[in-house]
């Protein structure tokens, strides 16, 4: 008698797309609010964006239960850091913590595809992009999730960022101003919603700049 195999999977993909764009003195982080499973929509109003620190915001798509657990882990670790160092974690520090937290579960991964955005210690925008097991890179902009294949090429074309292939290595932040970047994000999600079934319903945009954190919403296609 052959060994019984499990007929359930511990993973599911709850869909969605996220984007982050770094500018000279701001960072835009955006994600849609649709949560799905298979061909069903579970809810149209689920936020994928989580504020980890004063100047550090994370957007994650993938398996929602793992994303929630990951967010809780990072929030708890940040609280301990604040108690021990009497200050907020900087964005680059949180970026390293996220990478380590993801790799810790290398052999039963958090099925979570993350983009981390915020301001570094000099007030300049920074974006970090991850895979599910913690491999990360500081970039000028990134997208993750089902819609990323549609979104990334659009951003490559429109953001006018210096090519990452140039030598000497140039800073990848976009020369666009905040309003232009926010507008681009709206356009990008509207386009992704047209062709990606998992992206739509509503767009949540978070902007981090010297003044603090601001939130904005935009309706997307509901089909």
């Amino acid at each position: 008698m052959t060994k019984q195999q499990a007929n359930w999977s511990p993973y599911d993909n709850n869909g969605g797309s996220c984007v982050a764009i770094a500018g000279a003195d701001y960072c835009v982080i955006a994600a849609d609010t649709r949560m799905s499973t298979g061909y069903n929509i579970l809810t149209r109003e689920y936020s994928k964006i989580c504020k980890l620190a004063d100047k550090c915001v994370m957007a994650s798509s993938g398996f929602q239960a793992d994303v929630k657990a990951l967010q809780k882990q990072l929030a708890a670790r940040h609280l301990i850091y604040q108690h021990q160092h009497n200050k907020q974690m900087s964005c680059p520090a949180m970026a390293q913590l996220l990478s380590n937290t993801l790799y810790y579960k290398r052999f039963f991964p958090y099925y979570s595809f993350n983009v981390l955005g915020g301001l570094d210690n000099e007030g300049k925008g920074c974006v970090f992009t991850y895979d599910a097991v913690g491999s990360y890179e500081k970039v000028g902009y990134s997208s993750q999730g089902y819609g990323s294949t549609l979104i990334m090429p659009f951003l490559d074309n429109q953001l006018k960022s210096p090519s990452p292939l140039l030598l000497p290595v140039q800073d990848a932040v976009t020369p666009l101003v905040e309003a232009e970047a926010v507008d681009l994000v709206k356009t990008v999600f509207a386009s992704a919603s047209e062709r990606d079934i998992y992206t739509g319903d509503k767009l949540e945009i978070v902007v981090v700049n010297a003044a603090g954190i601001r939130r904005e919403y935009m309706e997307l296609r509901k089909d």
């Binding site: 599911d12 069903n40 239960a65």
Partner: protein, 244 residues
């Protein structure tokens, strides 16, 4: 270093015996639960069937239970796992009451606890094979959430489990609105349950509707829905079918 008896825990990583302790598939199951927010609180409906595969083994299973003062829990999936969850919640509410501090766990807290329990069991590859619906009212705030067997959770104005996601949610998306009256809410739930009765083969025509408001919760006596089977399409379903 203390000397302790070295008995291997049953759920260790070693050996095939430990696998017999893990849930592989459900045995006695309940079908959909549907719930919505209305003016005064939450309305929830579930039928009373407990299926053993394709056999309708139990016909008086209460799949909705009040939890503490402010919450109502509905479950679909493995009935024995639901009973285990009720046992965990009994202990949770007991400890909450024993503080005797005038405070009590609200629906949001209970939902959070259940999410953690379900997720942790999934992490150990031994899930509680349920989809849960948790609704309640505390301090005028209405709350309705759901959590699946692998820990996926969210809250919304209306939720459903299992077949209810396919058949009831679309009806609710079309017809739900803020501040439904009690009668309208019940009518909407019954509409959903009737569709499920017609189309879900594990549904039975014996259901309960539960209500929870700031004042407390009530679960109705079991009753059945009126059904109509005289549609001409039902009378001769193969008429006009190709190749029949």
């Amino acid at each position: 270093m203390q000397f302790m008896a070295s008995k291997q825990p049953e759920n260790s990583l070693l050996g095939p015996e430990s696998d017999s302790q893990r849930t592989l598939y459900p045995y006695v199951t309940g079908t959909s639960v549907v719930a919505l927010k209305y003016k005064d609180g939450i309305l929830m409906a579930a039928d009373m069937g407990g299926s053993y595969g394709s056999t309708l083994r139990y016909k008086s299973v209460e799949r909705m239970k009040p939890i503490g003062k402010h919450s109502l829990l509905g479950a679909s999936g493995e009935i024995s796992d639901f009973q285990e969850i009720l046992h965990y919640l009994d202990e949770l509410i007991l400890y909450d009451n024993m503080w005797d501090d005038g405070n009590s766990l609200g629906p949001k807290e209970v939902h959070n606890y259940l999410t953690r329990v379900m997720y942790n069991r999934r992490n150990k590859f031994n899930p509680l094979w349920n989809s849960l619906v948790l609704g309640g009212v505390k301090n005028g705030q209405k709350y309705l959430g759901t959590v699946s067997m692998i820990g996926v959770n969210f809250e919304d104005n209306h939720v459903a489990t299992g077949f209810g996601n396919h058949l009831a949610r679309p009806i609710l998306r079309q017809e739900w609105h803020e501040n439904l009256s009690f009668e309208d809410g019940v009518r909407l739930l019954e509409k959903c349950m009737r569709v499920l009765l017609y189309r879900d083969r594990s549904a039975i025509n014996k259901l309960q509707i539960a209500k929870i408001t700031e004042e407390g919760s009530t679960i109705s006596q079991p009753y059945s829905l009126k059904t109509y089977w005289e549609f001409s399409a039902f009378a001769n379903p193969a008429q006009g079918a190709v190749g029949s």
